[in-house]
């Protein structure tokens, strides 16, 4: 009886271990695949670029002929076209998530729980002020979680870079008519006013330590907010750091 119990538990542990391994492997493969795809993409783009460069040099030295150049231009176009098509073909399929009724407070709490270790490690005081009553919205749970994670990660990174000892993260939710407002506030260095729109562009990196960053956080956040019929912006009236205002309204159930 006892021996059987132990065997069962062993098996259970082994299974969990395997599961973990599988997940890690899948993640690694995904990351590697992404890297490989991006490297290949940069290489593909080099072909038309090199052609342009060559043509440019020829013309600058005054030895280029217009007829040859017209031919060259056609080549450049077709090389560019090919690169574009290859890239679009390897684009991973969009993962669509079913729309369900969500409670924003609950989702924010999930993300906070996930981040607890990091928050404790960097000594951040969290001021969590959820609205007592929030209207339930229809939305995509995982996407919204990742939206909040992006914003909180940004806030943490900002406070980390500020080097301040007193670090405060404030999360507030507020009910609006037919919508919910989420405010994420940190007391980091803030975002300069001229970068407040640019920060949402893909590849924008505002951090001092730029290495290994893709600059996609806010671009992804914007995309998720758009899908939820919402709005995201950096509050220009706030000066003690960065204050993100996100409003989310009802999203139409996707077909």
């Amino acid at each position: 009886m006892l021996a059987n119990d132990i065997t069962a538990r062993r098996r259970e542990i082994e299974r969990a271990h395997l599961e973990n391994l599988r997940a890690r492997l899948a993640e690694q493969q995904l990351a590697q695949g992404m890297r490989e795809a991006l490297t290949a993409a940069s290489y593909q783009i080099q072909v038309p670029l090199n052609l342009i460069r060559a043509a440019n040099n020829m013309f600058r030295s005054g030895s280029g002929h217009v007829e040859v150049f017209a031919d060259m231009l056609a080549q450049i176009s077709s090389a560019g076209e090919t690169a574009l098509q290859t890239l679009q073909a390897v684009l991973p399929a969009e993962v669509s998530e079913p729309g369900v009724r969500v409670n924003i407070n609950e989702l924010l709490r999930h993300v906070l729980t996930l981040e607890t270790d990091r928050l404790l490690a960097s000594g951040v005081v969290v001021d969590w002020q959820p609205a007592l009553v929030l209207p339930e919205l229809s939305g995509h749970k995982n996407e919204l979680r990742s939206l909040f994670k992006h914003l909180i990660d940004n806030a943490l990174q900002a406070m980390h870079e500020s080097g301040r000892t007193h670090r405060e993260l404030r999360l507030t939710t507020r009910a609006l008519d037919n919508a919910v407002e989420v405010i994420v506030e940190d007391n980091g260095p803030g975002i300069p006013s001229e970068a407040r729109i640019k920060a949402f562009e893909p590849f924008y990196i505002g951090w001092r330590q730029r290495r290994g960053r893709a600059g996609m956080g806010l671009a992804l956040a914007q995309e998720i907010v758009n899908q939820h019929g919402g709005c995201i912006a950096i509050d220009s009236d706030y000066h003690g750091g960065c204050r993100m205002r996100v409003t989310l309204s009802h999203v139409e159930p996707s077909e």
Binding site: A179, I197, E201, A219, Q222, G229, I232, S249, E252
Partner: protein, 531 residues
């Protein structure tokens, strides 16, 4: 003069009193100046206190105001050189000297503050050996909303005068608080309203409000979605009525600039010189009639998007000016010399053949290249005829909402619409639906109603020749005649269409005799196509 009315023994005290009153008058003048300077309450209060302090180094002061949410007194401003972390201090009602003053709504004068057991000395600010004057701050003579407290340098027997002065200043502060609170309340109400309107607008201008399930429209949506993320200039091309403005709206409201303004201007509507002052603004007196300085559309759109419709209509001279803004983001107002810099995304639209215009020398080549960074071509309606049924239903619903009545469109009507080639694109379809809605008394739009709108159905080509029609169940002639859901009239019309309007053939399809179908055509009042 004064020596006559006052005994000589009191002369030194009287002189002191006069001196005090004079300095108080000067202080009051300065305080009133400070109060009228700005609406930022905290800053103003701090300045008032420091003004009082500097005036003969007389007063150590503090203003605390009632917090509406917690019902506690919060220290809003105090004068001290190292007064940074004062926000932590708060008094509950009745607590300490300040709490007591607030509760009783009466002034309180203490000759030596250290003797008072209620004195808590939380701030470490007041000297316990000096006198203390605290007065309530009131708005309109009612209950107290805060406490103004200060400490004169020494008890010189003039505490009563000082207290009176303190009350005067407290009244002034009360007015400032009232003003700043009402302005703040108004501002936040306006902000809320603006945000809610903006949310509403955004809801009406997303991609979900543009109908299009065809491949060509999907390509357009994908392009627009991508381009929304960047601040690149966009060129929208396509015939008139294809929905260029809708796409411009969707790009704006899905971009990080969604909170900024979307400013629209039709370039064809104005002559050159007006266009320039409209876009770039003008200084006062720049030209006859320029009585005021005026902001141009570019300035209005700062941080947002500027939609320039009919960009192909502007003259080459103006194109050069536009090119500069697009390249540098810089321009000058008409009649102005100051260079203004704006952060605007430009979406330009045209239905012209720009390549031809460049060739003819009507459109600058450099501007052409500049605009072509991200061109999006809107397909004409005849290139996406499969979208017609959805579009028609959407438009009918829109009209129904406007007219507040039930409207529906039948399949036979949709089939006719799909055979038209729509030179005026969606706009033409929309007009057609509006007309049909007006003509249809019963609220059902069928093929006869469409006929009445002047759409020349008889001249339309047969479905086979009508172009790329496929796979939607309309127009391809494969309506299921046995479908129990369609009504009798629809069934007969569908059969006639499938039979090429040969009644005998249609009768066979419906498993009827020619007589039966002729009778039905008559009773159902179906207009037979003439060949």
């Amino acid at each position: 003069m004064m020596t006559e009315t006052v005994p000589t023994s009191d002369a030194p005290e009287e002189a002191r009193r006069v001196k005090l009153l004079e300095s108080q008058l000067a202080a009051l003048f300065d305080v009133s100046c400070v109060l009228s300077r700005s609406l930022e309450l905290r800053q103003t209060l701090r300045e008032v206190l420091s003004t009082l302090y500097e005036h003969g180094r007389m007063y150590l002061g503090m203003v605390s105001l009632l917090d509406d949410d917690s019902g506690e007194l919060l220290v809003s401003a105090l004068h001290d050189d190292e007064a940074a972390p004062f926000e932590k201090v708060r008094y509950r009602p009745g607590e300490g000297i300040n709490g007591h003053i607030l509760e009783t709504n009466q002034r309180w004068i203490l000759p030596r503050v250290g003797d008072e057991p209620r004195f808590l000395d939380r701030l470490n600010l007041f000297n316990s050996n000096l006198p203390f004057i605290g007065v309530p701050i009131r708005i309109g003579g009612d209950s107290a909303i805060g406490v103004f407290a200060l400490q004169p340098p020494a008890d010189d027997g003039l505490l009563e005068q000082r207290a009176r002065f303190t009350e005067m200043v407290a009244n002034l502060i009360g007015q400032a608080v009232l003003l700043s609170r009402s302005v703040e309340a108004e501002r936040s109400a306006l902000r809320e309203e603006r945000d809610s309107l903006r949310r509403h607008l955004k809801g009406n201008h997303g991609f979900s409000n543009i109908i299009g399930h065809t491949e060509r429209m999907r390509v357009v949506f994908d392009q627009a979605r991508q381009v929304a993320k960047w601040s690149t200039t966009v060129l929208l091309r396509g015939e008139s009525g294809t929905g260029k403005e809708l796409i411009a709206n969707a790009i704006h409201y899905n971009s990080p600039r969604a909170r900024g303004a979307l400013v629209k201007l039709n370039c064809a509507a104005l002559p050159d010189n007006l266009l320039e002052s409209e876009l770039f603004g003008h200084e006062k007196g720049a030209f006859t009639g320029a009585a005021n300085q005026r902001k141009g559309r570019f300035e209005q759109a700062d941080g947002g998007t500027l939609f320039l419709d009919e960009i192909g209509e502007i003259t080459p001279a103006f194109q050069a000016k536009l090119l500069r803004v697009l390249q540098e983001g810089e321009f000058e107002r008409v009649g102005g010399s100051r260079t203004l810099k704006v952060d605007v995304r430009v979406i330009a639209a045209t239905n012209r053949n720009l390549e031809q215009e460049v060739k003819d020398g009507l459109f600058r080549e450099d501007l052409y290249y500049r605009l072509n960074v991200m061109p999006i071509r809107m397909p004409a309606l005849r290139e996406r005829i499969e979208d017609v049924p959805d579009l028609a239903r959407f438009l009918v619903e829109k009209v129904a909402k406007q007219q507040a009545r039930e409207l529906s469109i039948t399949d036979s009507a949709l089939r006719i619409l799909m055979r038209h080639d729509w030179p005026g694109n969606v706009r033409e379809l929309e007009n057609c639906m509006e007309r049909a809605a007006v003509m249809s008394e019963a609220g059902t739009i069928d093929r006869d109603v469409i006929n009445l709108t002047g759409l020349d159905v008889g001249a339309l080509p047969e479905p086979a020749a009508a172009g790329p029609i496929s796979g939607t169940g309309f127009g391809d002639g494969n309506v299921d005649l046995d479908d129990p859901d369609i009504d009798e009239r629809e069934r007969v019309i569908a059969a006639l269409e499938q039979a090429g309007w040969v009644q005998a053939k249609a009768a066979r399809l419906l498993k009827m005799t020619p007589r039966q179908i002729a009778y039905r055509i008559q009773t159902l009042n179906i207009q037979v196509k003439q060949f």
